[in-house]
Point group: C2
Chain length 474, copies 2
């Protein structure tokens, strides 16, 4: 018996990536030197043959990973080398931005061939990005049941359970013996992935319970399914948000779970691998959207694509910066009289922005976990205002003393303390109220939270500081 491959998966993957990049670079170098040759006898041809062979042995997720890490030109060279029958799986694994570049490189025939290898739920996932006539041709090539399933999946939003569920369910009746179930499974020859339970349904297809494989294995084969099954399974509805389902999978440590209609009829199955992808996407989407990036940009996107992706946020920022600038403009007279104000005002605005971002990040996160309700708004607000007040006195005090010493002007230091404290209080107030208002308006509280709070603390900070200075110093 040979030894198993005893290496860390991360290292193995990095080795594969390094190997592919190296071959592609050597090919490029040879092409530059000797011209573009692809016949078998040439050095290039042999390198290609070796690479192709190596690719056949790789998991489609590994190929997807490598494709994502390559610049466009090399990515497409590699894509041409991949076996046609893995195309479909790989397209499902890569990110949206990379998928777009791969699809753009395929002709209609190739897309159809790749899609034919896929299940109904996978087809539905790809359908949105395929050309209309390819989708139509594909639908015609399916049998009635498959076509119905694709249609059903397409009728839900991309992130609803109905669009995410698969149809690979194994169902049994409650009045049969476990022995019969075991024989039935053996006849199936192949079982679905991630199947940790069978679904128990009646003659009308209504879910009556679930039979965990664990229980099937340890119980007396003479026993009936009904005696052994669990009758309080966690079930999902097709119109539920996928991310809610993912949180339930996380909470109850599920591997698979049934999806039922309102009347209790079993229509599909959710599995943990899809849920993990959702969790990853959700949290990453949050990181990116705070910075004004959409999810679709990949690091090798063209300059123009990147500009298109990022312009909206920059434009919003330009408007808020312009407003802040006009606030300062109102006090130009004061600044002319006391130019130290110009140097000190960014400190007040900056600390307010930083503190407000801390508050809003925490509130948005607590909202995502549904731990913030209108019932505890007051309590939260009181706490955040308390933190802001104390921070204002402490940090405002520090910077106030520094300003006093620097400009040898005591009253200026006092104005700094006052302005810092007031701006931190404003930051805390807005840090709680902005996300609360967003949710009440039915919007995602994370999106734009950072820009909005910064706009408030910039304009507010300039106004408070310059206003106080004009009142008390001039």
């Amino acid at each position: 018996m040979s030894e198993i491959e005893n290496k860390k998966p991360q290292e193995r993957l990095q080795e594969r990536f390094a190997y592919v990049t190296e071959i592609l670079q050597r090919l490029q170098a040879l092409d530059d030197e000797q011209g573009f040759r692809r016949d078998e006898a040439s050095e290039q041809g042999q390198l290609l043959a070796g690479l192709r062979e190596r690719l056949t042995a790789l998991h489609s997720a590994d190929i997807a990973y490598i494709l994502e890490g390559l610049p466009l030109e090399e990515r497409l060279t590699l894509w041409q080398l991949v076996q046609a029958e893995s195309d479909g799986d790989i397209l499902l694994e890569v990110s949206d931005a990379v998928r777009e570049t791969l699809l753009a490189d395929m002709d209609e025939e190739e897309i159809l061939a790749a899609a034919r290898e896929l299940d109904a739920d996978e087809l539905a996932e790809l359908a949105a990005e395929l050309p209309q006539d390819v989708v139509l041709e594909l639908m015609e090539s399916l049998d009635a049941l498959q076509r119905e399933r694709v249609r059903s999946a397409l009728s839900y939003e991309e992130d609803q359970v109905g669009a995410i569920m698969d149809f690979e369910m194994v169902t049994v009746r409650e009045d049969v013996a476990l022995e019969v179930v075991l024989r039935y499974l053996r006849r199936l020859k192949e079982l679905p992935d991630q199947m940790d339970k069978l679904f128990v349904i009646d003659h009308a297809g209504i879910l009556k319970g679930v039979l965990p494989i664990k229980r099937l294995l340890v119980n007396d084969p003479e026993k009936k399914v009904a005696e052994v099954m669990a009758t309080d399974p966690v079930v999902f509805h097709p119109d539920e948000e996928g991310i809610d389902a993912a949180e339930a999978f996380e909470r109850y440590n599920l591997v698979s779970a049934p999806v039922v209609e309102k009347n209790g009829k079993l229509i599909g199955r959710l599995t943990i691998d899809e849920m993990v992808d959702l969790i990853r996407e959700e949290t990453e989407g949050e990181v990116l959207s705070r910075a004004g990036l959409r999810e679709e940009e990949d690091i090798f996107a063209s300059v123009w694509k990147s500009i298109a992706n990022r312009w909206a946020w920059l434009a919003v920022n330009l408007v808020t910066a312009f407003v802040a600038s006009r606030v300062i403009g109102m006090f130009e007279g004061s600044i002319e009289k006391l130019v130290a104000l110009a140097a000190l005002m960014p400190i007040v605005a900056g600390i307010g922005g930083n503190s407000g971002n801390q508050t809003i990040t925490m509130i948005v996160r607590a909202m995502a976990l549904e731990q913030v309700s209108t019932g505890n708004t007051n309590r939260l607000l009181k706490k955040e205002l308390g933190v802001a007040f104390i921070n204002g006195i402490i940090w405002g005090g520090v910077i106030g003393v520094v300003a006093w010493l620097l400009y040898d002007y005591f009253a200026l230091g006092m104005v700094m303390i006052g302005a810092m404290t007031l701006n931190l209080l404003l930051a805390a107030l807005m840090g709680v109220l902005i996300p609360m208002t967003m949710v009440r308006l039915g919007r995602d509280p994370a999106l734009g939270s950072s820009v909005m709070i910064t706009a408030m603390t910039d304009s507010g900070g300039f106004f408070i500081f310059l206003g106080l200075a004009t009142l008390f110093l001039l």
Copy 2:
């Protein structure tokens, strides 16, 4: 046969939360009215009895969720009502910050009782937060094998595979028939959770392969394990980073996987539920650390605790803001001559900060996915500089025209365009170089990235704009 409970899990959970909060609030109101009474005959006593009964039926993850959403006082009231035998499970489910508050409320006896219900790997997870003498007493109460396992788990870093793995493995030999395996499982009466494969080992405990339950179920029972098992399983090492393992689980859609020593000896098992927690923690930690929050703060933390949690970041920000302020201070003479500079300078700094944050967020993310290597730094840098240049011309042009019209000063508008473009180029350069340098220094590129890039674009923006203005306008 009764119907299964056909409701969305999220709704069921919210109902439970609402129910518990309502009872706790009614109790509080009664205590305020009638004084603190807990005897069975009192209204309070009856409410408590009802609540306690309801809690017994709840999943420990649900109770953990409810505890996390309650303010401290109500949280502890509820914690007292929870059945002692669920204490251990619930302590494992709650967040670190909440766990601390619960442990602080328990005496030594209660902690020992709770810990006795746990497995070795779970004990090790809690041990760091328990009082030293409780841990010692616990260790003494364990049998030799369990004690060895707890010790082994404790010898690894919190986020290494060796600390995360469990020991609930079912192992078989390769020369037995599947029939024998099936009979063996039936004798076990209870199988571990998340068990989708058995581990095949030789007499020395060396892993020879894995036997997926799927294959066990569909193959002829006469066949030997060796004929059916997979000999190229994904395996992990105890010193590997947990998050690397989690990414491999994600990539290869694993449910469980063996952990082996360097010599190939099987020592433990990883399961998808732990991996999901790691993915969640990692991405959330990223969101929070960007804003300068540690993971441990919960929304009901006291004012002082919150201040302690957030002060370091604010202090860093204060220093960078002070530096920016001194940069402006260098140009006070110029501002006195042309006060419009004071009003316009935050625009240059602000847009630079926003754009730099977009770049750095994308680079950090690509680094987390290990798609950025030193090999493609130049290419990335060229692209980001291209985006910055074009954005500088476009947005600088817009704001330059506005400044020209507003102040009726053409050269001022030109200086705006130049300063915007240069500051955006600086932002792009730093957005690529800062995370690259952090990684080369062996540090987490996400931590502090936002503060550092903003510090660069603030000070840099002020310097560039005021410097250009001094050169060309005065």
